[in-house]
Symmetry: C2
Subunit: 428 residues, 2 copies
């Protein structure tokens, strides 16, 4: 039986998951891929550090040179994260004809093009199922099972931390800060939660998904990003009153050859399949012209779910090595589509405004909206204290620039105390 | 650029969908798989019949011999359905070294073993994504992305017709017959709805999924089957009162090396992801030891969704032909696991009984349950007319044989008018 030697870069949370899965039942792997998978080297910063998994001492190394110069190592499993040195290692590995499996969304969302070009030139595999939505199969379904479709939309809850926070705020009425604290206590959020709560993590994932869905390179920089820090429990309860749930969504859409890619909180109808995705679960909703609506749901992070995706990719690459078919799934960004500027997107909006509570105020505001082509689908007005009314509005579909222009004028009115929030509304 | 010639067997609903997708944009296919896909022949019973798609007259043929004897045809796309002549054609094609893509669940669930043995011997591809849950990617995810897992459970709504019927009964209080009539009017149910409403269609699909999940051959005959014809609107409203929703589920589970596979209506908690899958949508819920819970949702039938899955498979096979890697996804049933007899399964039960309404009746019944190890989780008692009470019970987990034994005794009691329904309860 063939023996396939691999090296793992990084022995953090995900790296340890990969080792655990591969060590668990070696006979299983022989059945599943017809080969013995040997973990020949594991690259770590500090080989002396105590870890949860046991590996022979000659396997754990701090020296990349030992790995890159070993011609027997056929697969590099990059689970170190971050841009450097991961980028250099992956590029060097591909240049040497080694296949790569990576879980690194940052790297792919920023340097995808050069990585795929390198892998294609070398005829190597570059697999990355774990980079988006952890254990949920979504990369391979987009590259394979759904390939017959013109994908119209990918919309997903692709960050478990913010979904957990929004779930606590929705179900228990907690404020953002308390919910974040709870997420940190449970290990869902990091000490510095910026990448999660500001939407950067989700933006990297939606860049990867959009690139696959629309066959055009979308990078992190191309994605409009807005996080969840401005969401108040009040917004969530108004949303519920109006039949909606608030989620941090990654949205990628193609219309008339133009691609839009954005991450922001959004109201979605409570009956939408994504609305019932709670806690730290992730889900990706895909609409294609042939398949219609599909959704993929599961754990978007965590040692074992992410390890599941990484090892699934390793097995695929092993099969390709055995069949001499590495490189069979090449880069699919063979088009160059235009991006739609954020100001041009069309959607509905939820607005919460504080205005002076006197007759004619609603008429003035509605008039300004009307002049900018913004028509209102529903309005809730509640009296606050001190002669201030809270006005909650859901608009019909309108161009982003038009509503922003209207708001600029409304903000300057003497009757306006504050535009407390603007949240987009996604209905399909 | 390479040219790959294919033949399609059958030009019914799905066959026409496949032709539509392949004809829509030929340049797209060149980008997606680096080859020109040529529909060289389409086998039909009556070549003269008018159809929705336009094909050159020399392409449409009534003669299998023209196809099987043509060495240029590399892929046979079997979308005719039924066992014969599909089985003979597929076996002959594989024997000649042709790759096969099929949407035929009947064929796979009953003759899977011989088909896979033949394809393996010939080094050919045998792809079947469309055979279960239409357009939803579930076969390839189980064979690839999730392969690192020991799958513990596959549980799915895999028949859209019955899900539509149950949705109407649940949401509108319709009776079974009316809901079936509505489904027939909409084209969701056939004139003879037996295969759908009796659960046979779902059983074939769960046999295929169980075979993949547990790496052991499960055939249609191995699956316990019960349909939805005995479900009454009353059961659905009691279920809701108790926090459950009723779905026709296909369930496949492995525990201690024993496999169970069954199809029957079941109460599931209303918060379960499957509970919110309405109308004719399908969904498959998979639990693996590494990935945890995942779910795949979408359209389980229809011309274009099923066509999407078939064409996705065709593209995969084309790539394998180009790379010389056909046969890379071989049969995965490399184990021989025991089946758990239906009497040995452990689950909870919902029971609806009609009993004479007098003191002590509940005590007698509870006593008999107690003697058989059946303990009750909740009981609702409502008075009907003429001195009859309706008793609705949810049990704790108990062995199927034990509750059936208890019911045999209860059925014979003079106080028992009728055991109106027994529905299993699945909580995870």
């Amino acid at each position: 039986m063939e023996k396939i030697e691999i090296a793992i870069l990084g022995l953090g949370n995900v790296g340890q998951g990969v080792v655990k899965i591969l060590q668990e039942n070696t006979e299983k792997w022989r059945n599943k891929c017809g080969a013995n998978i040997i973990i020949k080297k594991v690259l770590v910063r500090d080989p002396a550090k105590k870890r949860d998994v046991s590996l022979p001492p000659d396997v754990v190394t701090g020296r990349w040179q030992e790995i890159i110069s070993d011609p027997e190592i056929k697969i590099i499993v990059e689970v170190m994260g971050g841009i450097e040195p991961a980028r250099t290692y992956v590029m060097e590995a591909l240049a040497k004809g080694k296949n790569v499996v990576t879980a690194n969304k940052d790297l792919l969302a920023e340097h995808g093009r050069e990585l795929f070009e390198k892998s294609q030139a070398a005829g190597c595999d570059l697999y990355f199922e774990a980079s988006v939505a952890g254990g949920i199969p979504i990369i391979n379904p987009l590259k394979q099972s759904l390939i017959a479709n013109n994908i119209e939309q990918v919309m997903g809850i692709v960050n478990g931390t913010t979904n957990y926070i929004l779930t606590r705020m929705t179900q228990e009425g907690m404020g953002f800060a308390d919910a974040l604290k709870r997420a940190q206590e449970l290990g869902y959020a990091e000490a510095d939660p910026t990448a999660d709560v500001e939407g950067y993590d989700a933006a990297r994932k939606i860049a990867i998904l959009a690139s696959l869905a629309f066959h055009t390179r979308v990078t992190f920089q191309d994605v409009y990003v807005e996080g969840i820090t401005k969401i108040r429990p009040k917004d969530l309860s108004y949303a519920r009153e109006l039949g909606y749930t608030v989620k941090l969504l990654g949205i990628a859409r193609e219309e008339s050859g133009q691609v839009e890619a954005r991450v922001h909180p959004a109201l979605i109808p409570s009956s939408h399949p994504l609305a019932n995705v709670y806690d730290s679960f992730n889900a990706v909703f895909v609409r294609g012209d042939a398949v219609g609506e599909t959704m993929f749901f599961g754990r978007g992070a965590g040692q074992m779910p992410t390890g599941s995706a990484v090892v699934g990719d390793i097995i695929e690459v092993v099969k390709n090595i055995e069949k001499g078919s590495t490189g069979r799934l090449s880069c699919t960004c063979y088009e160059h589509k235009a991006f739609k500027p954020m100001g041009e997107i069309m959607t509905k909006y939820y607005l919460r405004l504080h205005v002076i509570d006197r007759p004619g105020v609603l008429a003035s505001i509605a008039g300004i909206f009307g002049n900018h082509g913004v028509s209102l689908a529903s309005v809730i007005q509640k009296n606050c204290e001190d002669g201030i009314a809270e006005l909650v509005v859901i608009t019909h579909k309108v161009r982003e620039n038009d509503i922003q222009d209207a708001l600029k004028i409304i903000r300057e009115l003497s009757i306006t105390k504050e535009i407390a929030n603007l949240i987009r509304v996604e209905e399909n």
